[in-house]
């Protein structure tokens, strides 16, 4: 590292900082009576394209670098951000964070300590089969146009909207326990919306795809233009969903959103500690039917929540949250595990270097059961088959949740009949896991960005088809 000088090599050359360069911060922490700190460096490049009706609305490349320091003492945190990777700026930023931590600590009523982490130095590199950096913008644009063009197979498709982004970022995480982690991460995310019109009505349908890794991920998106267009055209015959109580089957995409929103967020330990989760007092208790098993698993390499190490430098792990209907674990960061006296689960994630790590999910899913869809439709007999999602949200305090489905089919005598649009499902978390009756035998997943406290992180969510009894559907 250059001392007292500006580092200018920013085009994805490795960050030229090593563990020894940061040793001085541990002495500084002792001097400033800081019990715990972490410093997180990032340097990255993001490419984005936005297309409307096959015309570029925006094509951009952004480059950036910076670092943040989170300082902790006696239960109080301070957080400050810097941009120049030199000793002078790092020292100054450390003092800012330390001042803020001491200030915060004076108000803390229940002080706690951050548990020690192992002293180690590790490097993680997300493999890219096709290098994002070596793929030209022309090639990227060509593939996007190819996927977008698929949508126009039918003259009823009047408009399309494509958004693509890829990111290559190098992170360094270092803390006062001498843990030094270097992570070279990369991902691709793609979303397409097709608009269909028959002259009287217009309908839209969106599809998305995201993968941690290299540009090869976009190959998986081939065919999505056609898929979105097909559903948009199908929705031209849709009716508004009737409101009321129904027995329903969720498809794997909606099941994933349901598990993520209705349950996953309430299992994040920061909300548990602050009294803002309906699950606060439920550990060790039955909260669902015995066939309900829920997992957070960052090791699934093809899912968008794949993550070998979290933003605090903790190696990630597969966490069984619900086993046979019993709540057995929460998801933890270093802080929440310290406060609750357990091991961190590697779920401390920040959306960028200038944001604080929060407890976040990675890939969360309902484990498969033993039913197939035909059996489930036959058992349902009359009700709704709910397909794909638009969005979802949760109030973890009251345990209410809501998802908007992309489409639904009326099921009559076990057969799909009328298609419905814009239906919403609502329920209470502690009630709804008991309404799961049948669980499908094949799991599928979806990619998306999860938003919490203004931060968006890539996550995967999934599950099999699942049947729920007596659910409230919002419609007209």
């Amino acid at each position: 590292m250059n001392e007292n000088s500006e580092e200018i090599n920013i085009d994805l050359e490795p960050i030229s900082i090593d563990r020894e360069d940061l040793d001085f911060l541990r002495d500084l922490a002792k001097e400033r009576k800081i019990e715990y700190f972490n410093i997180r460096f990032a340097k990255g490049k993001m490419t984005s394209f936005s297309l409307l009706k096959k015309i570029t609305k925006s094509s951009s490349i952004g480059i950036g670098k910076g670092f943040s320091i989170q300082a902790f003492t006696k239960g109080g945190y301070g957080f400050a951000v810097g941009y120049k990777f030199n000793k002078e700026t790092i020292t100054e930023t450390f003092h800012n964070a330390a001042d803020l931590a001491h200030w915060s600590a004076q108000f803390v009523k229940s002080p706690f300590s951050i548990q020690q982490t192992d002293d180690h130095k590790k490097e993680y590199v997300i493999p890219q089969k096709i290098s994002i950096g070596n793929t030209s913008p022309d090639k990227k644009m060509q593939m996007l146009l190819e996927i977008e063009n698929e949508a126009y197979y039918d003259p009823r498709i009047k408009s399309t909207n494509v958004n693509y982004s890829d990111l290559e970022v190098e992170n360094i995480i270092y803390n006062n326990f001498n843990r030094f982690v270097r992570l070279k991460n990369s991902w691709v995310f793609f979303i397409l919306q097709a608009i269909a019109s028959d002259g009287n009505r217009q309908e839209g349908y969106h599809v998305s795809h995201g993968r941690i890794g290299g540009f090869e991920a976009l190959s998986d998106a081939l065919g999505l233009g056609h898929k979105a267009a097909e559903s948009a055209i199908e929705l031209l015959d849709s009716k508004i969903a009737p409101g009321g109580k129904f027995n329903i089957i969720l498809d794997p995409m909606l099941c994933g959103t349901f598990i993520h929103e209705a349950f996953g967020h309430t299992a994040e330990a920061d909300g548990v500690i602050s009294g803002e989760s309906i699950l606060s007092e439920k550990i060790g208790q039955k909260i669902g039917n015995p066939n309900v098993n829920i997992v957070d698993n960052p090791y699934l390499e093809t899912w968008f929540g794949y993550l070998p190490v979290d933003s605090e430098g903790t190696e990630t792990q597969k966490t069984q949250i619900v086993k046979n209907g019993e709540l057995i674990n929460f998801l933890h960061s270093l802080e929440t595990s310290s406060r609750m006296g357990c091991e961190p689960t590697g779920n401390g994630r920040a959306s960028g270097f200038s944001s604080l790590p929060q407890v976040r999910m990675t890939n969360t899913y309902l484990e498969p059961g033993d039913s197939n869809l035909d059996e489930m439709l036959s058992e349902l007999k009359n009700g709704l088959l709910c397909v794909n999602w638009k969005y979802g949200y949760v109030d973890p305090i009251e345990g209410t949740h809501q998802f908007k489905m992309a489409k639904a089919y009326k099921i009559e005598n076990g057969e799909k009949t009328q298609i419905y649009r814009d239906a919403a499902i609502s329920g209470l978390t502690l009630d709804v896991l008991n309404r799961i009756s049948l669980i499908g035998n094949k799991i599928e997943y979806d990619a998306g960005y999860c938003s919490k406290g203004g931060q968006h992180v890539p996550v995967g969510s999934g599950g099999p088809y699942v049947m729920l009894k007596n659910m409230i559907i919002g419609g007209r």
């Binding site: 094509s59 945190y77 957080f79 803020l100 915060s104 200038s354 649009r421 919403a424």
Partner: protein
């Protein structure tokens, strides 16, 4: 204790001409390139201070500055390349110039692009959107500001959870282009929020409230504390209702998020031109209730939506969006206006130096009605009061089905129990047509001044 260095070097970046110098450096590199016809620099810088609390006590404090430059270049066939950086070194600036060229070459031609904005003599610079007190605010000040929320711990029914925070930001926006625009404007924001959770007889309820203004003096933390606590208290008695149609009264919060936000989203000309708006076919049509008139005013002192120029440097101006039920206009930037061979009406937006150009609203003013809100509620024998739904409509069709996150049963003219597992479904065009009354009282919800609104015949589904 002096917590931080209380200088505001961020504003000095603008005042000292730092960004203009950067723009000229970039221009000097680019002007050699004959393929580039249009050049635009968009720079932002801000300094923010945040304090978050948990269980009614300060938990952490943050301070950070951000600054960056976004460059757009466009060739004679409308191909656009954009780059951005938060690094102002020579190397980084050279790099973004190179990247911009690469991206411009990769883009498709855009026959609809006409030109960037030109300098104007009609910029209306408004006072009071920058509060110098926020330049030097420190955590001690914020702790004092938050005390009314912390004092909720002294209530008879003590909150189970009490979280939220205060954040402030000072900053500015600079725009330069090769048509001669070189302008900047500074702004500030202050925001306070609280979320309260109460438990009584095994029933849990939450309440929230927030305020955002340009000036610290307008923040009323007592109101935030009281209203968030009251919302949680009201939620402790829950009920469900029979599934059927009811008259619905929207609070100002619900009016802003359920009615006004979708409307301003769907009069975005980009959505309209690409068949993504349920209002696309209704320009100059009598499509809303006749008691509805809505204006967009970007020049109200001290309001969050106030600005002298839009994100392309086009002067902003007041617009009458809806006049007695008739939809008068769509929001345009130079691109959407160019497509229709009209002038932009100054609604280009960017969320930062790294974001592409979009379209957004400024301050929205819904004309008040004549009745008092209490009288509107008092006349309802059986109805629903919607305080808040977290849902958004289908912008293409206008269909809405959403959860009543916070709402109450109105019985014999009085607000009663809180609603549980209750949902509302309507097409927004019908909702706008079914506006029966607007209250004479109005409240600011972020950038919108809105009344209470009564709708007739809305389908409510409940367990």
């Amino acid at each position: 204790m002096n917590i931080t260095q209380n200088t505001c070097e961020i504003i000095e970046l603008f005042e000292d001409g730092f960004f203009e110098a950067q723009a000229r450096r970039i221009f000097s590199i680019l002007k050699q390139k004959s393929s580039i016809k249009h050049i635009e620099i968009y720079a932002t810088a801000s300094k923010s201070t945040n304090v978050n609390f948990e269980a009614g006590f300060v938990k952490d404090a943050h301070q950070k500055t951000t600054a960056g430059i976004g460059l757009r270049i466009i060739d004679s066939e409308g191909r656009e390349g954009m780059t951005y950086t938060s690094d102002f070194s020579d190397y980084a600036l050279q790099l973004i110039v190179n990247y911009a060229e690469k991206m411009m070459k990769a883009a498709t031609p855009n026959p609809y692009f006409k030109d960037l904005a030109y300098p104007s003599k009609s910029y209306h610079f408004v006072e009071d959107i920058y509060d110098p007190n926020l330049e030097f605010i420190c955590p001690e000040d914020i702790n004092d500001i938050l005390q009314p929320i912390f004092n909720l711990k002294e209530r008879d029914l003590v909150p189970k959870a009490l979280s939220g925070g205060f954040s402030s930001s000072v900053g500015g926006t600079f725009i330069w282009n090769n048509n001669g625009i070189s302008i900047w404007e500074k702004y500030s924001t202050a925001n306070v929020s609280a979320e309260v959770s109460l438990i009584r007889a095994n029933m849990t309820s939450s309440g929230f409230q927030w305020q955002s203004f340009c000036n610290l003096k307008e923040i009323d933390t007592n109101k935030v504390a009281e209203e968030s606590y009251l919302m949680a208290l009201r939620g402790l008695k829950k009920t469900t209702v029979e599934t059927k149609e009811y008259p619905v009264v929207l609070s100002p919060l619900a009016t802003a998020y359920f009615l006004i936000d979708p409307l301003t989203t769907c009069i975005n000309a980009e959505r309209v031109q690409n068949q993504m708006s349920f209002l696309g076919e209704y320009l100059h049509q009598d499509c809303f209730s006749h008691n509805l008139s809505i204006r967009d005013d970007p020049h109200i002192p001290g309001k969050l939506g106030t600005e002298s120029f839009d994100a392309e440097g086009v002067p902003t101006k007041p617009l009458l969006i809806v006049e007695k039920g008739v939809l008068n206009t769509f929001y345009h930037n130079t691109f959407t206006a160019g497509k229709e061979n009209i002038e932009s009406n100054g609604h280009a937006s960017r969320s930062g130096y790294n974001s592409p150009v979009g379209i957004s609203s400024n301050n929205i003013l819904v004309d008040p009605g004549k009745q008092a809100k209490d009288d509107i509620i008092a006349e309802i024998k059986e109805g629903i009061y919607l305080e808040y739904s977290g849902d958004t409509p289908n912008y293409i069709t206008g269909d809405f089905s959403g959860l009543i996150m916070t709402g109450y049963l109105i019985k014999d003219g009085v607000l009663g129990s809180s609603l549980s597992e209750t949902m509302l479904g309507v097409n927004l065009l019908d909702a706008f047509r079914n506006i029966e009354e607007l209250s004479r009282e109005r409240e600011w919800i972020d950038e919108a001044l809105v009344p209470w609104t009564k709708l007739r015949n809305i389908k409510i589904s409940s367990r």
